[in-house]
């Protein structure tokens, strides 16, 4: 009983695969040449990363809150919006930004957590006598660095306002909320100093969030991490610590697309053994397998000695000869299936995209292919034959289906079935080209292929460094170092992004982080050649917020003061101070921007209520 029905499995289907779909999009992802340079001993200098800031991902913030107050991590997950993802990873430094929803959720979170922290421990003297000490201690803990001179009064102002109303403990709680909503807590910097070198505190966070997805511990902050040997030693310590599982598991879930287990639906008629508990056991097994793998080769080819009780419905008493390595895991096989049957397309695409780093375009619009309906017991090889005989389909599907058909011994629950498991890998630009019989043979060929090792390194680096595929490569734009041979162990592979010498370097210097002291500038006057522009950012009738841009068009540094007509009562002012006593408002800079360098500018802002 054939009828005209589309077979489109997941987001993949039919494409000519003749080239880039859209030339305006990102450059192509790394292919052979960009990754083969990783281990061929090429003399090349990796790109020096630019100075940047990284908002903590929701997952990193979960772990960060959890370290502050047990039980608060799950509130982060419940309250914050999901993060933007690139290549399936949620740690991309360019995409992670704040939004109104995010900022509102962070405020609520900070209020909840602050109310539960033990204020007596934080403020041992119980009054304002120890407020500065509390601010320094708590601030250093959540900012992951000592507070700077200008920061103590900034947060002390919160304490004072609220303590005057409601007492010192309330002041401390409000101060905690201010810390937990501050960008210095929510973001981490990789700016470096005036010599373009990351500071020790920046390095400590870069390592701990990369390898633990959590804030740094004391030992890390106290290590001299700019030194390559010391840093390598700390990287090994972090990887050996149980907290490394927080980062490794999160990476493996995203790399191997295990999230799909959550939304997968299985026909209860065909798969009565399916249950949430079974899926959780499968997920746990996959994560354990990755975290415990001694080498990438072992990860790809090893077979467990025993099968745990919850997994008996999938594997039986022991793994049969048809099964090997990560590609034989029930979690992978189930996550890459449809509700009724295996998915050669998903399985082929997983191998192609996540182990060979070859991206495949989405299916082209307007093509309609008729394939037979799924009938239990039917061969997918027969069912999918239109993909290889129809020219409109075969261009792309020849890259996926022939690999995926090699997984046909496993059904949509990952169980072994009797089926034809001949597979082919074509045009991978690697040594794996050719035919294979079943998953064990494919796994063996992949384990021997340096392109696979380089791809796994790239996947890990995308996640760990929060960068695009191009940066996580050994190509022209690549941040990764080249070496003469692949890393010998899985741990060595995981260390690579962090131990490379360019990890501590930035492509440009950054200004001194310690804000300059208040200068004794006398009575400043508006210098000639300094221009201002006022932008109304929002106006709700009863008030408005404005940004004022101050540009120094002169050839020398200028200490500025500007006058503006009064348009209401100022309720809030930042990056400037105001003299309100005259007929005009007289603004001058805050300590950090009171002086503007030649041909540079600064800005300040204020909100007013209209008269």
């Amino acid at each position: 009983m054939r009828r005209a029905v589309l077979v489109i499995v997941g987001s993949l289907a039919l494409s000519a695969c003749t080239g880039m779909l859209d030339g305006k999009k990102d450059p192509p992802t790394p292919n052979g040449p960009q990754l083969t340079a990783c281990f061929d001993g090429t003399q090349r200098t990796p790109v020096t990363p630019p100075p940047r800031i990284r908002r903590l991902s929701r997952y990193e913030l979960e772990n960060t809150f959890e370290s502050l107050l047990a039980g608060s991590g799950k509130r982060v997950h419940a309250l914050l919006p999901a993060d933007a993802v690139r290549d399936g990873y949620d740690s991309d430094a360019e995409l992670l930004r704040a939004s109104e929803l995010y900022v509102d959720a962070v405020r609520r979170l900070s209020e909840e957590v602050s109310a539960q922290l033990d204020a007596n421990t934080l403020l041992p003297c119980g009054g304002s006598a120890c407020a500065d000490a509390f601010i320094r201690d708590f601030g250093a803990r959540v900012f992951r660095r000592p507070l700077r001179p200008a920061e103590v009064p900034r947060f002390r102002a919160v304490f004072d306002v609220v303590a005057a109303d409601d007492g010192a403990v309330a002041g401390a709680r409000a101060t905690i909320e201010a810390f937990l909503q501050s960008p210095s807590f929510l973001y981490r910097t990789e700016l470096g100093d005036t010599t373009s070198t990351l500071t020790n505190d920046e390095l400590a966070s870069a390592l701990s969030y990369g390898l633990w997805a959590s804030p740094p511990d004391r030992a890390l902050l106290d290590s001299a991490l700019q030194d390559d040997a010391t840093r390598a030693e700390q990287v090994r310590r972090l990887l050996a610590d149980p907290r490394a599982r927080l980062a490794l598991d999160h990476f493996a879930e995203q790399w191997l697309e295990l999230e799909r287990l959550d939304s997968a639906v299985r026909s209860p008629v065909l798969f009565p053994d399916d249950s949430p508990a079974l899926r959780e056991a499968l997920r746990r097994e996959a994560l354990d397998t990755f975290a415990n793998a001694s080498t990438l080769s072992a990860f790809l080819t090893d077979r467990p000695a025993t099968v745990s009780a919850p997994l008996l419905p999938v594997y039986g008493a022991s793994w049969g000869p048809e099964r090997a390595g990560v590609l034989g895991l029930g979690a992978i096989l189930m996550a890459h299936s449809t509700s009724e049957t295996s998915s050669p397309v998903h399985r082929g695409k997983l191998v192609r995209a996540r182990f060979f780093c070859q991206s495949l375009p989405p299916p082209p619009p307007g093509i309609n292919a008729a394939l037979p309906d799924f009938v239990p017991g039917q061969s997918n090889r027969e069912r999918f034959s239109a993909h290889s005989t129809n020219a409109a389909c075969s261009g792309c599907h020849r890259l996926m289906d022939p690999i995926g058909l090699g997984f046909e011994r496993f059904d949509a629950l990952g169980r072994t079935i009797d089926a034809d498991a001949r597979g082919e890998v074509l045009d991978t630009q690697s040594s794996v080209d050719g035919t294979f019989d079943g998953v064990p043979e494919l796994a063996g060929k992949m384990a021997a292929d340096q392109a696979v090792t380089a791809c796994v390194l790239s996947q890990w680096s995308r996640h760990a460094l929060g960068v695009s595929a191009n940066a996580a490569s050994c190509g022209e734009l690549g941040w990764l170092p080249s070496s003469s041979a692949p890393p010998a162990t899985m741990r060595a592979l995981l260390e690579v992004p962090f131990t490379a010498p360019n990890f501590v370097r930035r492509s440009a210097p950054s200004p001194d982080a310690d804000e300059p002291p208040v200068p004794d500038a006398g009575t400043p006057v508006t210098p000639t050649g300094v221009t201002t522009r006022v932008r109304i950012d929002s106006d709700w009738g009863a008030g408005s917020c404005r940004t004022v841009f101050v540009d120094n068009g002169t050839a020398s540094a200028q200490t500025w003061t500007i006058e503006l007509s009064k348009v209401g009562t100022i309720t809030s002012l930042w990056n400037a101070v105001v003299d309100d006593s005259g007929a005009m408002w007289r603004f001058s800079g805050a300590p950090h921007n009171v002086t503007v360098q030649p041909m540079e500018g600064t800005s300040f802002g204020f909100c007013v209520t209209s008269p």
């Binding site: 029905v5 589309l6 077979v7 489109i8 499995v9 997941g10 987001s11 940047r52 800031i53 419940a78 919006p81 999901a82 993060d83 933007a84 993802v85 930004r97 704040a98 939004s99 109104e100 929803l101 900022v103 509102d104 609520r108 920061e151 900034r154 919160v158 306002v161 409000a174 909320e177 201010a178 909503q181 501050s182 210095s184 910097t189 700016l191 999230e259 939304s263 639906v265 449809t338 509700s339 009724e340 299916p363 619009p365 093509i367 309609n368 440009a508 200004p511 950012d537 929002s538 709700w540 009738g541 917020c545 309720t571 809030s572 930042w574 990056n575 805050a590 950090h592 921007n593 909100c607």
Partner: protein, 409 residues
């Protein structure tokens, strides 16, 4: 002008106003914009969407997708034939649907211009939009090129909208001082960080800064008051697929409450997302809605009719509440649109994309009719939405297509 109109084809009723530019001024305006999204196109290949025009209005075939909406027929204005210029496929359609390829979606574009007087410039509600994180497939709204995230949890929505602390004037003044002092410190920290960044990195903090300003505006907002401004919500697992109908209902009620309490003028609700793995298990399906869309069979039509029922439920809720600013019910004062990212789901193309306008848009729209607009770019509909909300824009992002969609008034 006339030649362009006649070029648009038959079936177009000429409107009286001679000049489009004057039209934006002369016509009444909508007070609120409400967008409702459901994914994966529709069932064009089996002809289960298109209505039929009649002298009295339009009819729909028994069993077709729009049939569950017919209780609201007098408020409906289905439009067929529109296409997305230069966009196609699932992701392309999702990206272009509300943006026409520009940096802002029409909801955010309008909200940035008219939302300043409201507690929230806009509100974005979601139902299970985030299992895959946020990307071009899972988000439909953009502000300045950045994704805008809907809130998927009714419980979170409730607290954000209606969870204001009660208290006397003294308590509220203290709370305001407290929050203002915290905000000042946070903004000081942000300013200090930003001053150390180059231009490119500094722009990463722009959205954070503007969000803090929005929060500051909220400090002075009175707590919501009035009938039905505190719709209680049962807490439930907002990611559990079997809760999809209950979450949809809760989000629709919260959205309409927010409109009825004048908390915003621009609201969107997004049910799942393109290529979503959502399986309509509550309808007895074991196949994902996306896979069903490729089949385009009766099971897909059944799921589409369920979405149609949800849009109908939204219209019922809007009709039952008065606009607090006057002018009748929320359905009378609002411009409501059911949007989709594709035409036929199986072909995943952005041609003949089905839109259903609803409501009177403050008297601007003349519903109860069916419009066929083959070969007209949907950007004209986006322009119409801008003009309906009082903006004078003559095009939306794409300058090639000027003027609002003719025939809706």
């Amino acid at each position: 002008m006339l030649s362009r109109r006649s070029a648009l084809g038959a079936g177009l009723s000429l409107i009286a106003a001679p000049f489009l530019n004057a039209r934006a001024q002369a016509l009444p305006q909508a007070r609120r914009l409400v967008l409702f999204f459901t994914p994966n196109g529709t069932a064009h290949r089996v002809e289960r969407w298109h209505p039929t025009s009649t002298s009295m209005g339009f009819t729909v075939a028994p069993g077709s997708i729009l049939e569950p909406l017919m209780a609201h027929q007098a408020s409906l204005l289905p439009i067929s034939g529109l296409y997305f210029p230069d966009a196609t496929n699932h992701e392309g359609g999702m990206r272009a649907m509300l943006t026409a390829g520009g940096p802002d979606s029409v909801d955010q574009y309008i909200a940035a211009r008219i939302g300043g007087g409201s507690r929230f410039r806009s509100l974005s509600f979601g139902v299970q939009t985030s299992a895959w994180g946020a990307n071009a497939q899972t988000r439909m709204s953009y502000a300045g090129g950045q994704l805008v995230h809907p809130e998927d949890s009714p419980a979170n929505v409730f607290t954000r909208l209606f969870g204001a602390v009660a208290g006397g004037p003294t308590e509220l003044a203290k709370l305001r001082r407290r929050r203002q002092s915290i905000l000042d410190a946070v903004r000081g920290d942000l300013g200090a960080l930003k001053s150390r960044l180059g231009t490119e990195q500094a722009t990463k903090l722009d959205a954070h800064l503007s969000a803090l300003r929005a929060m500051e505006i909220g400090l002075d907002a009175p707590p919501p008051s009035g009938m039905g401004c505190t719709t209680p919500v049962l807490s439930m697992d907002s990611q559990d697929p079997s809760n999809f109908p209950a979450i949809t209902r809760a989000q629709l009620e919260l959205m309409v409450s927010a409109l009825a309490c004048d908390m915003t003028r621009v609201a969107t609700v997004q049910l799942a997302h393109t290529v979503s793995p959502l399986v309509p298990t509550w309808l007895g399906s074991t196949t994902s809605h996306h896979e069903l869309s490729h089949r385009g069979d009766d099971e897909f039509v059944r799921a589409e009719r369920w979405f149609s029922e949800q849009f109908g439920a939204l219209l019922t809720l809007l009709a039952a509440r008065q606009d607090p600013a006057g002018g009748g019910s929320l359905l009378d004062t609002s411009a409501v649109v059911w949007v989709k990212e594709l035409g036929d789901g199986g072909l995943h193309t952005c041609e003949d994309v089905p839109f259903v306008l609803a409501g009177k848009a403050g008297g601007r729209w003349n519903p109860g009719r069916y419009l066929a607009r083959p070969g007209v770019p949907h950007t004209k509909l986006l322009t119409e939405l801008c003009q309906a909300m009082g903006l004078t824009d003559d095009y939306f992002h794409d300058q090639r297509y000027r003027g609002a969609l003719e025939g809706v008034s």
